[in-house]
């Protein structure tokens, strides 16, 4: 493997890892704060991707405006879903959360099939992000993937800022560690949950929108991402955003280089990684011991 190929693969790994982080952060945010295991999170990724597919012709080159519009729409969707379904799940055990969110997946997939159909669709790149730049003598790398990585970094920094530096973030962290005390202090915990859930949905959907021009949109795209995100969350440690970042990058590298070296068995690599972590640190890299 020459240097150019190596660099390209590294960039791919980072980009894939950052994208996974974006999806996983939504998942871990919802779980860490509300204690709900959300199987439908992959569906939000799928919804984001299909949203990009439907909005792209309307927005044309104003790609970033489209992303923002998508974030607003999916956050609204999350707000409504929390009110209609998830707010009933907090007191229930994990089993019922699994079931209800499983039911939601079926509903979302079928609605997708009714509204858009079952064909694979490409999503056009905005013209200003279309080109690629040279890397080494033979290789080139598309600008869009750099944009995708940067967008994920910006969101991650924003997330860090909101959670650690703002009043809302303080309430979120307090709500995660002691729900009753927060309520006792006069904070409307249900509204807080609704906001967090909406943000989690928007994060998943944003990842889907960013991924859509690279991966195209196809049925059941949510499920595979969901399961890889579970691996990320298990490796990183539940509820830890930093852990999710480290784990996502790790999974990105193992998956990308697994595809280079062991093409046929590449799907297995990340699970082997997860097995090793489970033997070594069952609570995850950054998880607290239970």
């Amino acid at each position: 493997m020459d240097l150019g190929t190596f660099l390209v693969q590294c960039l791919n790994a980072v980009q894939y890892g950052l994208l996974l982080f974006l999806v996983a952060s939504g998942l871990t945010l919802i779980f860490g704060i509300m204690g709900v295991i959300n199987l439908a999170h992959g569906s939000f990724y799928m919804i984001g991707a299909y949203l990009a597919f439907s909005l792209a012709p309307l927005f044309g080159d104003r790609f970033i405006v489209m992303l923002l519009a998508g974030v607003v729409l999916t956050a609204l969707l999350g707000y409504v879903l929390e009110w209609a379904f998830f707010s009933y799940l907090y007191q229930r055990d994990h089993l019922q959360q699994v079931l209800m969110t499983y039911g939601l997946i079926l509903v979302f997939e079928e609605l997708r099939s009714i509204l858009v159909g079952n064909d694979v669709h490409g999503v056009p790149l905005p013209a200003w992000l279309g080109g690629s730049f040279a890397l080494g003598d033979l290789m080139s790398y598309p600008w869009y993937r750099i944009f995708a990585s940067l967008a994920c970094v910006v969101v991650a920094l924003g997330l860090y800022y909101v959670v650690n530096r703002t009043r809302l973030g303080m309430m979120i962290r307090a709500g995660a560690s002691n729900r009753d005390m927060v309520r006792g202090l006069g904070i409307d915990i249900r509204r807080l949950y609704r906001i967090v859930f909406a943000a989690g949905v928007a994060l998943g959907a944003l990842a889907g929108m960013i991924a859509a021009p690279m991966s195209s949109v196809y049925p059941n795209m949510g499920a595979s991402v969901l399961i890889i995100c579970f691996v990320v969350v298990v490796i990183g440690g539940i509820g830890s955003i930093t852990g999710a970042l480290v784990a996502a990058l790790l999974v990105g590298f193992v998956d990308t280089f697994g595809k280079v070296f062991f093409a046929e068995l590449s799907g297995v690599g990340i699970y082997v990684l997860m097995a090793i972590i489970l033997i070594w640190r069952p609570e995850g890299l950054m998880g607290r011991k239970t």
């Binding site: 229930r92 019922q96 079931l99 499983y102 939601l104 579970f230 691996v231």
Partner: protein
């Protein structure tokens, strides 16, 4: 919780015990008599439901009896089925060694997955079992081992002396016998010291550990037995269908079987069977044009909505509904 811990009146308890012993025996006897009268479609449908019942029963041991929510149980089912087809080769094979092989393969993978995933608990455990099942799915889906995404066909169905799984009625009685065996085994486990320890782990794992029970070992044993029984269901499925494909291991299958036992009622053996019956019938009805009209093409939508409504309205399953309706249990 208080309902579980409150001592039941002795009379009800004994009635319940007699009821829960006689009912399954009665049902099995009824099926054994009715077998030849069911017709081609009928037997085929009942065989399918019975195989799913075995699969659901095996998961009941984990979820209902031990409190371990596994979302990757289809892996063991699929591995049992694949082992059967792969080992029978072009000449076919005898049930006498294909069946133990299928169960052992599933149990072997369950041993590895269980040993790793039982290091975690709760929501972690759900995710890890799902992920390892997906790994098995990828092995069969992406490599040439099992014919890739198309799956593989079985050349000759398993036989044992005069028993030939090619024959519809033989199939029916072999599957019925396997169902009775599974049900009986799990009923025995439920009444054994081992079963009592599993129930203790479900209710309060800390206390069991403090009492000196090797909790991890007990849970692993339950996981492996459940895997082996799922492998039994997989063997029967392969023998019935004569074909396997990676979809058997898909997480939709794991979700469906979890749904069955919750639908029926957690912690009751008959709940798993009731759930398998109701789920299969429900799916059949929702995807048949004659019953639901044009909605039949969108059965996933109606099934999904039914699941959501069910979680909202019937958290204790159909058995819970029956208990609520009968004044005796009130």
């Amino acid at each position: 919780m208080s309902a579980v811990l409150a001592p039941m009146p002795v009379e009800t308890n004994r009635m319940n015990r007699i009821f829960s012993t006689l009912l399954p025996i009665g049902c099995a006897a009824l099926l054994a008599v009715a077998g030849p009268m069911l017709g081609a479609y009928g037997t085929d449908f009942v065989v399918k439901v019975m195989i799913l019942s075995i699969f659901a029963l095996s998961l009941q041991l984990l979820v209902g009896m031990t409190g371990l929510v596994s979302l990757g149980h289809a892996a063991f089912y699929g591995i049992g089925a694949y082992a059967t087809v792969l080992a029978s080769g072009k000449e076919g094979g005898s049930i006498a060694w294909l069946l133990p092989l299928a169960m052992a393969s599933a149990a072997g993978y369950a041993l590895v997955v269980g040993a790793l995933s039982l290091r975690t608990r709760g929501v972690y455990f759900i995710m890890v079992t799902l992920a390892f099942a997906q790994m098995a799915f990828f092995v069969f889906h992406d490599t040439g081992l099992g014919g890739g995404s198309d799956g593989i066909y079985m050349y000759v169905r398993p036989v044992l002396g005069a028993l030939d799984m090619e024959n519809r009625l033989t199939q029916f009685y072999v599957v019925l016998a396997a169902l009775v065996f599974t049900y009986g085994l799990l009923a025995l486990i439920g009444r054994s010291r081992f079963g009592a320890a599993l129930a203790g782990i479900r209710v309060n794992e800390q206390r069991m550990r403090a009492a000196g029970f090797p909790v991890y070992g007990y849970k692993l044993a339950a996981f492996v037995i459940a895997g082996a029984l799922a492998g039994l269901a997989g063997f029967l499925l392969a023998a019935r269908d004569g074909v396997v494909n990676p979809e058997l291991l898909s997480w939709h299958n794991s979700g469906d079987v979890l749904l069955m036992i919750i639908l029926g009622g957690l912690g009751h053996l008959r709940g798993a069977v009731i759930g398998a019956v109701v789920f299969t019938v429900l799916k059949e009805v929702l995807s048949t044009q004659a019953f639901v009209g044009p909605l039949a093409d969108h059965w996933q939508l109606t099934l999904g909505l039914a699941i959501i409504a069910f979680v909202a309205l019937l958290p204790k399953g159909i058995i819970g509904l029956a208990a609520r309706l009968s004044p005796r249990a009130a």
